[in-house]
Amino acid sequence: MITAGIDIGSLSTKCALMDEDQKVIGFDVVLTGGNNKAATEEVYKKALANAKLKRSDVGYVVTTGYGRENIPFADKHVSEITCHALGMHITNPEIRTILEIGGQDSKAIRVNEDGHVDNFHMNDKCAAGCGRFLEVTARAMGVELGELGGISEKSENTVKISSTCTVFAETEIVSLVAVGTAIPDIVKGVHNSIATRATSLLRAVGLSGPLGMSGGVALNSGVVKSVEEALGKEVYIVENPQVRGAIGAASIGQRLV
């Protein structure tokens, strides 16, 4: 039976379709926008089209992410922490610690050899250190989100950016831009700021074994490099990191049917 996993996040909604052999046979990503039900319909249709399947071909749907409980056709909803752990485990069973940075939260997850969550830790009080933080800071610098990784490589004199509050950081960046600070130095400072928060989470959860990264922010090579520098450890970036939660959800579906 084919199962679908749909991860309805604050920034983007992801869908993955999986067959009985736990193979991903189709996926897609759309922006969530203001209507997560509409985004879910859209991404589901797109993923089905990619896999050349019809809705009736799917036997079980598991939703995850912040909007997981709003989807009427879901058979089950599961937290994204459990889903990311399984989504990573399917392709990389050697990974024991996962850093997942999504739109509005970041998580450090410790997994056991079966892909089950042993422990997790999440950011608190502010979105500093998350995807939204990158979005806000990129806007303040006038650069595209997708360009941040490449820009940060050109940094020569990295500045320190607040890691406590997104709004404080934005104010800081606006001031730095105003006095002519080189954009790559600010971008690298932003990435280091995210890495500072991430490493605290990872150490709180107990960093052990190989470390993998999932979530949309894993696509930003600058953040990955800053995390590696902060930890002195290699970070494995899984294929399609932003879809791992949806893949984990689809895998839970396979275990349940």
């Binding site: 599961v78 937290s79 994204e80 922490i81 459990t82 939260d105 969550v117 422990n119 997790f120 999440m122």
Partner: protein, 405 residues
């Protein structure tokens, strides 16, 4: 202040209270009968509140775990500053109070269990006190709110300072403070409280403890979530020393006896540590669908302690020290609670700005880790909803519940 003037003030304050918290949120959407003991407590609480606003009543603002026996020996109504914040939390107009505190530049980073009562005093909702009686632990911040309220109402503030260790010196230090406190109250009130008053109060306190302890015993091997909640309420009300409380405890024990063994399905047990929300709070409702919640505070050793009727002040002093969150004692005591109550996980609720829970949290997480128990620390605000978003917390709680299953 003249009693007549106080009486007039209290009439206004009572109206202010009704205006502020009269419109309460929907209590609960769970359709379940209340325990008899809970119904009794609700009636007694309402009666106590009404009495506190009457002319001629003696009212003492007290902080958490203040030895209420002292207030009762003086025929005073203890007005628990922190517990009143939970009543505020249920009000639909709660924002008004917090807006007022912000207008007076009280930082939102301060625990809402302190800001709430402070705001209610600013709204002139609390009855004018005759005394403010505080203790410095476990929350010295609350003791400071007590000091501020004493200044505001021009009421004498008498504070107990509880040392950390239990030995003859520290006990005698605390006993002397209580003796001084009582003689000062006698002086100000122009009355003499003989040993018989304290004796009868201590007898009632012990009667209640006897049933309370027996109920805790039943909780160990039986799934009694409502009983656990009621113990939390009784602990929070801290009404030990009056006949009514002894009756509530007796009725609760009898109900627990009847319910014991009836619940056969063995669900996972989560120890709720830290401040506790109102019973109808969405986090509790959400968790109750999956696990049994056992509350930490009512199970502390200090709550089980019977007072020495021949030397009550010394045993009250010992209990006051036991209420201190000494790291080593907390470790031993909480480990024992885990074993006695077969706990599967900890939920540590850290209310924004509560440095006491934040301070002891690591000790508690270490206990959980050493016992291989799952644990989750959540930062929440149980009174000021501007500081909290259910969906954000729920996400963590859901993952924790999945971990437990």
């Amino acid at each position: 202040m003249l009693q007549e003037t106080i009486g007039q003030e209290r009439q206004i304050q009572y109206q202010n209270l009704l205006n502020l918290v009269g419109d309460q949120r929907q209590d609960t959407d769970e359709d379940k009968p209340l325990l008899k003991a809970s119904q009794m407590r609700s009636i007694i609480n309402s009666h106590r509140m009404m009495q506190a606003y009457r002319e001629g009543s003696r009212v003492a603002y007290v902080s958490e775990q203040f030895p209420s026996e002292i207030a009762f020996a003086f025929d005073m109504i203890p007005w628990n500053l922190e517990s009143m914040a939970i009543m505020l939390a249920q009000s639909v107009d709660v924002d008004r109070v917090f807006k007022l505190t912000q207008e007076h530049q009280l930082s939102r980073d301060i625990c809402s269990f302190l800001r709430g009562p402070y705001g209610m005093m600013m709204e002139n909702c609390y009855p004018t006190p005759d005394f403010v009686l505080t203790n410095t632990q476990p929350c010295e911040g609350l003791s400071k709110v007590g000091l501020i309220s004493g200044k505001g109402y021009k009421a004498p503030v008498l504070a107990l300072h509880a040392p950390n260790s239990i030995d003859e010196d520290s006990l005698s230090y605390l006993v002397k403070q209580m003796e001084h406190m009582m003689s000062r109250m006698e002086e100000d009130l122009g009355i003499e409280v003989g040993p018989d008053s304290l004796k009868s109060v201590v007898e009632y306190s012990n009667q209640a403890r006897e049933y309370y302890n027996k109920t805790v015993q039943l909780l160990r091997s039986n799934s009694l979530p409502d009983v656990s909640r009621e113990l939390q309420e009784i602990f929070g009300m801290n009404y030990f020393g009056v006949k009514e409380n002894a009756r509530i405890c007796k009725v609760l024990y009898e109900e627990a006896m009847q319910l014991a063994g009836k619940e056969t399905s063995k669900r996972k047990r989560v120890l709720w540590i830290g401040q506790v929300p109102e019973e109808s709070h969405e986090i509790l409702q959400h968790m109750r669908e999956v696990v049994d919640i056992v509350y930490w505070a009512p199970l502390w050793d200090a709550n089980m302690m019977m007072l020495d009727e021949k030397d009550p002040l010394k045993s009250i002093a010992e209990r006051a020290i036991l209420y201190h969150w000494d790291a080593e004692r907390t470790k031993v005591e909480t480990s024992q609670i885990c074993e006695d109550h077969e706990i599967d996980g900890f939920l540590i609720a850290n209310v924004w700005g509560c440095r006491n829970v934040m301070g002891i949290s690591q000790v508690l997480r270490d206990i959980a880790n050493s016992k291989k128990l799952k644990h989750l620390t959540i930062s929440i605000d149980l009174v000021d909803r501007n500081n909290y978003a259910f969906n954000q917390v729920k996400n963590r709680v859901d993952a924790f519940l999945e971990l437990l299953q």
